[in-house]
Amino acid sequence: MSFFHRDPARPPRRPRPAAPPPATAGQSAAMRLRVRLLAGTMALTVAGVLLARLAWLQLADSSFYAARAARQQMRSATVPAPRGDIYAADGTLLAGSVTCWTIRAVPREMQEELLDAAAADLAAILNEDPAAFAEKFADRKSNDALLARRVDRETADAVRDYCESTGLTGIRIQQDTKRLYPEGDFAASILGFTNVDGDGLAGLELKYNDTLTGVAGSVLTARNAWGYDLEQADSFYQAPVQGNSLTLTIDANIQHYLEQHLSYAVQEHNVSARAVGIVMDVNTGAILAMATKPDYDPNQPRLIADETTRAAVDALTGEERTAALQLAQQTQWRNKAVSDLYEPGSVFKLITASAALDCGVVQPLTQFTCGKSYKVSGIAFHCANNKAHGLLTVQQAVAQSCNQSLIQIGQLLGKERFYQYFEAFGLTGATGIDLPAEPARSEYYTPNRMGPVELASCSFGQSSKITPLQMITAVAAVVNGGKLMQPYVVARVTDAAGNTVSETQPQVRRQVISKQTSAAMREILELTVLEGGGKNAYVAGYRVGGKSGTSQKLDSEDEKARIASFVGVAPIDDPQIAVLICLDEPHSFSTAGGSLSAPVVAQVIEDTLSYWGVPRVYTQEELDAMQTTVPNLAGSAPDKALERLANNGLTGKVVGNGQTVLRQYPEAGQSLLRGSTVLLYTTDAEPLSVTVPSLAGQSYDQAVAALRAAGLNLCAEGPAWSAGAVAVSQSLTEGQSVPMGSVITARFCDYSAVDD
């Protein structure tokens, strides 16, 4: 054998030999065979084995590996779904959701050398404590640290820009959603509010939480093995679906009237245990407005809205403060209209009278005698202020709110029938309104536990306790022809695309009294406003019925504590709305519902009916006291102008000695009481000014005289015609300097109206 090539003269290889060597020179057949064998075996083995293996991995079993790979590569983040919106009946957005951003840090991914600057700079952008951030960042193993929850777009952009400009990694900006109540402190006790996780805690937000909650979406982001997001990789985005939206029966305008007038009364009469107002469509049971004042701003539900209470809570420290704060929060969140029981007092006389009329034990003109007192089983019952009413019909007894007559009517009715009607009016249990925290059962006497004394006190509205909502629902049945309606707040549920999911149909729970009884009761209600204890609910041009109530709080430590309430219905000849106002513990010149609550009811009724464009129909007395419109006198000769004013029932006063009227005051189109004075300026003289006098406590005639003497005009509101009516407020304050001829609006109330 040889290991070295010893042939110095290698076979010549070029030029390509003229006689080329055989193609396989030097190769043996055996060798060629072995090369072929090798080629075949190796090619088949390599291709066969590898292709089979790859087919198994990539075609047959691909999903197994792909899923496991995705699990390590993809980071899944939840995108919270916006809650459904809540709209008022008129389309006003009451609760909406806005997109916001939550900022989190992943300290593990943040660069060590940027930490200090990042803590300071990010805290400045987010308006947080730099030291707290520095502490969070110092935990270098942490994968998640919350920096700021629910910031707006500008702030989120500022954070993003900061990270980009400094190259800081490990800051996550996650899309989130936030509840927003655009109207602020408005309809709060109906709407409720949500917690940080977007779950409803009170009101409709709680009751309709499942409806309002949407379906959360998600983002899948590819990341590398170090946990950083891949910039170039696609993200898989599953969009969240907004929850269903609610459209309420609440009309934002009526709610506004109610809240405005109720808040004024709470302030004016120092109501210490909150006040309730409800406006109901008597024919459907739809709640048009509902308020408890003071309440809160659902955007900041934990802030005590009532300044006095807040100051009192803030004055405390430690556990005392915590307890007081919680109590104050629980109180302001409570929807008193639905959740709290109260003694309805004399308003309840409507129920007793309806029951007695309906089962025929009395007729509207059946007479009763009211003396100094009326004894039942040895207990003497008096009327308010120990008044002896004398001989009264049923109509008068209700209008004058005579306790003794009502006791006698109750006795005629008997406890069995009394209870039957009490239950039939829906006063024993929940109304079933779609708001949370309604008590399942009210406080009342069942016939087996009711003695003659209990029957007597129940007949005029003491001893039982019901919710304001139960009361107004029952009153609606009294006036609407006898149908007990199911009250409701949500008119319609729509999905994110705007399709109607469900619509609430008015529901009659039962016929409680006959139509005839209802008609008789309407008469009594109107009589109460025109002649009885409800005068202050009078609205010129609208026929209003109503009943006042002034109830003792039997379980209160304060013997003088009262609830002043009034229920009004209008138009009483064709009832549309009922308004119930309850002022719990007013501290004012009076505690009577007829004095304090009736004017609120009158204002809400007047605003609501004129908002609806219900035409006013005036009586002759009203027409006499009617106002007239000032004509346009500019350019006329002074004597012509005076003549035209006289034709309109007005007088004029010419200022200056020019030939034509240049300006006039009040201006054309203004409404004025007949006999008012219009000033006519014929030169460019300064308008004459006069000082506003005080009208407080004056009767209508006195007020007109006082204003005319000052060169001013009057516009009267309330029962100015009533003998006992006095001015209680005026639009321009005393001592103010105003142009001569200005109109002063004064509200009159009749506080001599009977107490109850």
Partner: protein, 381 residues
């Protein structure tokens, strides 16, 4: 005179053209490899060095130099390798000894670091020199290859000495590759088939012996073996590389995620630019892309062996068989490792894996195959 003779040797007049199919296959694999290397390595380059071109830049440079080497080698008369065979082998042995005194990297001593120039892998040179030496010896002694003293013993001694030195690094996969190539050359050269059967039995006995004599190897081998059979048993340890590679391959599915869209290359698959580049290829190009690569290597093998069959002499045939089989076998083993068809062992994918010097050598060897083709019978060209 001497200068003139070199020039004459390299650029003789009237030299026939290259084997175009083989050249085009090499060129296709090279370009494919460069594209895949950039795709697989850019993420790692960016993360580790803030430079996505970290790996592709030197590779491109070496590819250009390598193509020049290929061209020159294709014009070289391969018969001068008769003269280089023994000196080259001697040099290989020296380098294999020198490397044992180099600092450890990942528990192995496989690289000689030449300051300022880069690294040199003596096993690569040993592979080359064994092919050259075997081709040289067999072509001289072909008729007597059936006998033990001529057809087995010298080769066994040569392979044994190389294998022992490489196992000391340790470099098991390289050793096995050299043994396999040596065996293929002996098979083609005419060694009796019974010796292969005997060698197989001997290898098993040697393996058992090695495990007994070198107990240090036992846990190493055992861990390799168990992580092959059930990589999910230790997903964060021994099975980690394999699992990540399988995730990448499986994620690719039939058509892949698209070139550049691998997610596993983002630090999940270890060394995506090197031994595991094929798993990234499978993820991005899917089964279709992977099958194309396998097809290219099989075509390279068959064309290479066609050139061997047409070679002018035994030396040319054997050299061609040696180089072609070396490339394809290494590629097949790499793909088998990456797909967990065989136990995990460090072996790179020719034309694809990052590594400038080995790419350059590879292209040089392909040049020698083309040189054989130029002198052989070339029907139709």
């Amino acid at each position: 005179m001497r200068l003139r003779s070199v020039k004459e040797r390299l650029f003789p007049a009237g030299l026939p053209g290259m084997d175009l199919p083989f050249f085009l296959l090499v060129l296709t694999l090279l370009c494919f490899g460069l594209v895949m290397l950039y795709s697989a390595s850019c993420a790692v380059g960016e993360y580790r060095f803030q430079d996505p071109y970290t790996y592709i830049r030197p590779q491109l440079l070496f590819a250009v130099v390598g193509l020049a080497a290929l061209y020159l080698a294709s014009r070289l008369d391969y018969h001068i390798l008769h003269a280089w065979a023994w000196p080259l082998f001697g040099l290989s042995l020296v380098l294999l000894v020198v490397v044992l005194f180099m600092p450890e990297y990942n528990g192995c001593r496989r690289w000689i670091v030449i300051p300022g120039l880069g690294t040199l892998q003596p096993s690569e040179i040993a592979k080359f020199s064994v092919i050259v030496l075997f081709s040289h010896i067999i072509s001289l002694n072909h008729p007597r290859m059936k006998s033990f003293t001529v057809g087995v013993l010298p080769f066994a001694v040569i392979l044994g000495s190389v294998a022992v030195l490489m196992l000391l690094e340790p470099h098991l996969s390289g050793t096995l590759l050299i043994l396999a190539i040596g065996a293929v050359l002996m098979f083609v050269g005419g060694t009796g088939l019974r010796w292969f059967a005997l060698a197989g039995g001997g290898a098993l006995a040697a393996l058992a012996g090695a495990l007994i004599l070198l107990p240090d190897l036992v846990p190493y081998a055992a861990s390799r073996l168990s992580s092959w059979l059930d990589p999910f048993a230790d997903p964060l340890g021994a099975g980690h590389q394999t699992i990540q590679s399988l995730y990448a391959i499986g994620s690719g599915g039939a058509l892949g995620l698209g070139l550049g869209n691998s997610r596993q290359k983002h630090l999940y698959v270890p060394e995506p630019q090197n031994d595991f580049i094929f798993s990234i290829l499978c993820e991005e190009l899917g089964f279709v892309g992977a099958a194309l690569v396998i097809l290219l290597f099989v075509l390279l093998l068959t064309r290479g062996l066609v050139i061997a069959l047409r070679a002018a002499d035994k030396l040319g045939a054997l050299l061609t068989v040696g180089f072609t089989v070396q490339v394809v076998l290494q590629a097949a083993l790499n793909m088998a490792v990456v797909t967990n068809t065989i136990p995990n062992t460090g072996i790179s994918l020719p034309f694809f894996s990052s590594g400038g010097t080995s790419l350059m050598m590879l292209l040089g060897e392909m040049g020698l195959v083309l040189s054989v083709a130029r002198q052989g019978d070339q029907p139709g060209l």
